[in-house]
């Protein structure tokens, strides 16, 4: 996942087609209208980091609409959210003003795996691991 400091956002290249979607927009309506065609990057909004609507938008864009371009988180992006974002399908994030990227890497290194499936790994833990312990094996 590409982590971009607030003051280091690159200008889009000439061949990039960027679509910004408000976090109260209906993804189905947008897709139906053809707005996703040819889009290379979609930017989703976190007006406050406690407003989690964009996570569902990201999941829908990846899973239902098979969007394969860059999915970028914009707004009140804190490093504590980056793993949730990556698991929801975001591939880049612009950190909020004043948030340092220093502590970001170790957030990704912490959990080897999670219980529920996500955009990166659709199967839940119980369906991935063939050697789940039963009561007799769990010490």
């Amino acid at each position: 996942m590409k982590i971009i400091a607030a003051n280091a956002v690159p200008e889009p290249a000439n061949d990039e087609k960027v679509l910004k979607i408000a976090n109260d927009a209906d993804i189905a309506d947008i897709a139906r209208g053809g707005a996703l065609e040819g889009v290379t990057r979609i930017e989703l909004q976190f007006p406050k980091f406690t407003d989690g609507r964009a996570y569902s938008q990201a999941v829908l864009l990846r899973r239902r609409y098979k969007f394969s371009g860059d999915l970028r988180a914009i707004g009140d992006v804190l490093i504590d959210l980056l793993v949730h974002m990556q698991r929801s399908g975001f591939t880049s994030a612009v950190l909020a003003e004043g948030v340092s990227p220093d502590a970001a890497e170790r957030q990704f290194a912490r959990y080897a795996a999670f219980y529920q499936g996500d955009v990166l790994q659709p199967r839940p833990h119980f369906a991935r691991d063939a050697t789940n312990e039963t009561a007799s094996e769990a010490a």
Binding site: Y55, L78, D80, H84, A103, P122, F126, E133, A138
Partner: protein
């Protein structure tokens, strides 16, 4: 009980480390207070009136003796204010008291060194300093405990009927499903910042003892004509400012589709729940506002999950078998301890009648230890008691206990032959009041003594009523009554579902209380879930015990016989006589109507 795998153990340890990292970055100024807030809530840490409050998860109420011992250790070693902090807190509470002459009640002094059992079967501590938070969470992780999502706008602790697996009217033991759902909901990347909190309850027996009508999602287990297991799914129940009972959205959801369907519900909620107004942000508001459209949206999303996503969270038979393998009957061994109890004595027989319940297994009983007694706030267990509970669980209940929604603790695997010895042991601990289900088995939140959300204190009210109703003959004559009290509209004391509800409200900086009647939690005794109705303008604290007494007097006067329960008399004769009695008990202060 579920036994943690290596993966599960590592997960809670990493979670504790993550929280430590967040706290350290906050202490270094790398996270502001505002940024830390949702993160610490998702680990169960509130900042309260005088000290942080830590809410430790006890998933669907099940706790082992090892875990009880750790709670005892935390109560003993960490739940401690400095003398200065305690003095400051007590002084402030005393000033609050002094500012309401004639209006308030004698207040019990502030205590520390104990855990508090909540209506959501979690355990709260009120005095652990934030500087010790990381250490405490690491200790808890060592015994497979955590505070994951016990607060915050996420999927909270999942509750069940306390009697799952042992109930005589069991249809399906839903604990395995509760555990599977708990795991699925833990650190869910898409659903960690919902519009508001989200609570799920399971009920596996014929009688609804889990108040499923009052939950964001209520799941009633059933079997169809082919004998297949499924759930009736209710959505949109909740308490707070606008109490609502959940509506059925699916009569029969096959068990293996549980997570897929919940995902659909929560995704619709995350996308469309209101975020502009905290009091209108629960899913109940969305369900009421959208009606059939909500159901259609959920069904469409569920269909897409199944047909387009491939239904990845379909619960496999292998996973159900794995998790269910932990919820079998444990190795049972009678304690066979001697006792000198007079088994014909009235006190013992009353205890058998109220606190001891029949069991699915012949010769076994479920015993509820009563945490409702004079001198203690409802649901409070000090360190010595927590250690003693661990011993009782080991001796009498195969090492297992259960927190109940009514803030008591139940031992689920007791031999009938051990009842006299258990009674003696419980009595020595002060936990054998034969009052389960009766008036003094009240539910009360910690209220204004601790909680910065509270409008008023609940503990002085609870203490006054407990003290006034010490005569067991009287309490037995009054019969089963659900008395629930909350210090504020957040309703942690579930006042809406009480036959009698008491709600703290703030007026002009003083503590006032609304009294409600006729609420129900959906149990057989109470009838279908419904919110209580206010009896009139608010009362002062000092008036409340007299109001309760007056209404109970009306019950005794109007009941057909002592066999007619309070709630049935209330429903039969209507609220007016009770309202008249309540309002007639005012002390002569000018009672102003609340907006």
């Amino acid at each position: 009980m579920y036994q943690y795998t290596e993966f599960d153990k590592q997960f809670v340890k990493l979670r504790a480390q993550q929280f430590r990292d967040q706290l350290e970055r906050w202490q270094r100024g790398e996270l502001t207070d505002e940024q830390l807030l949702p993160l610490r809530l998702q680990n169960g840490w509130y900042i309260q009136r005088y000290a942080p409050m830590a809410r430790i998860a006890v998933p669907y109420g099940e706790i082992s003796s090892t875990q009880l011992r750790m709670l005892a250790r935390i109560a003993r070693e960490y739940d401690k204010p400095t003398p200065e902090l305690l003095a400051h807190a007590q002084k402030t509470q005393d000033e609050l008291q002094a500012a309401q002459p004639g209006l308030t009640l004698a207040a019990p002094p502030l205590r520390y060194g104990y855990g508090h059992f909540t209506t959501r079967t979690n355990c709260q501590f009120n005095w652990i300093p934030i500087t010790k938070a990381a250490e405490v969470m690491a200790l808890l992780a060592s015994v497979c405990m955590h505070g994951i999502q016990t607060s915050g706008n996420d999927i909270r602790n999942i509750t069940c009927d306390a009697f799952e697996g042992i109930a005589e009217d069991e249809i399906v033991d839903t604990r395995a499903f509760a555990e599977i759902t708990r795991q699925w909901s833990s650190l869910h990347p898409e659903f960690s910042f919902l519009p508001r909190k989200f609570k799920i309850a399971f009920n596996g027996a014929r009688e609804d003892r889990a108040a499923t009508g009052w939950y964001d999602i209520g799941l009633q287990a059933l079997k169809n004509v082919a004998g297949e297991v499924g759930f009736t799914v209710k959505v949109g129940g909740g308490m707070g400012r606008t109490p609502v009972i959940g509506s059925v959205v699916r009569e029969f959801l096959p068990w293996d589709q549980l997570l897929n369907y919940i995902e659909a519900i929560v995704r619709v909620y995350n996308s469309y729940g209101r975020r502009d107004n905290k009091w209108k942000a629960r899913i109940k508001i969305l369900v009421k506002a959208e009606g059939q459209k909500f159901i259609d949206d959920v069904e469409a999303e569920y269909k897409a999950i199944v047909e387009q996503d491939g239904a990845p969270h379909t619960i496999s038979q292998a996973e159900l078998d794995r998790v269910q393998s932990f919820f079998v009957v444990p190795e049972l061994k009678a304690a066979n301890l001697p006792s000198k109890v007079n088994s014909q004595g009235q006190l013992y027989r009353r205890w058998i009648g109220q606190n001891v319940r029949g069991h699915r297994l012949p010769g076994m009983r479920a015993v509820t230890l009563s945490f409702k007694r004079v001198g203690f706030a409802p649901g409070d267990a000090d360190a010595a008691t927590l250690d003693a509970l661990a011993q009782l669980a080991d001796q009498f209940s195969a090492g297992e206990a259960r927190l109940t929604h009514e803030q008591n603790l139940m031992l689920p695997w007791v031999f009938e032959s051990d009842l006299p010895a258990l009674y003696e042991a419980a009595r020595a601990l002060g936990l054998a009041q034969p009052n389960i289900g009766l008036l003094t088995d009240m539910i009360a939140c910690p209220g204004g003594d601790f909680c910065s959300l509270a409008n008023a204190r609940s503990l002085p009210i609870a203490a006054a009523i407990t003290e006034r109703y010490q005569d067991l003959d009287e309490v037995f004559d009054l019969g089963p009554i659900d008395l629930h009290m909350s210090g504020c509209i957040n309703s942690c004391g579930h006042h809406h579902s009480g036959h009698i509800g008491i709600l703290g409200v703030d007026k002009d900086g003083k503590e006032w209380y609304q009294v409600t009647l006729g609420g129900a939690d959906g149990s057989d005794l109470s009838g279908p879930a419904i919110g209580g109705k206010v009896v009139g303008p608010s009362f002062s604290a000092a008036e409340v015990p007299d109001v309760i007494e007056a209404m109970l007097g009306t019950y005794r006067a109007l009941r057909l016989s002592p066999a007619e329960h309070f709630i049935d008399t209330l429903r039969r004769v209507g609220h007016d006589p009770f309202k008249a009695a309540a309002n007639g008990a005012r002390h002569g202060h000018k009672a102003e109507a609340l907006a």
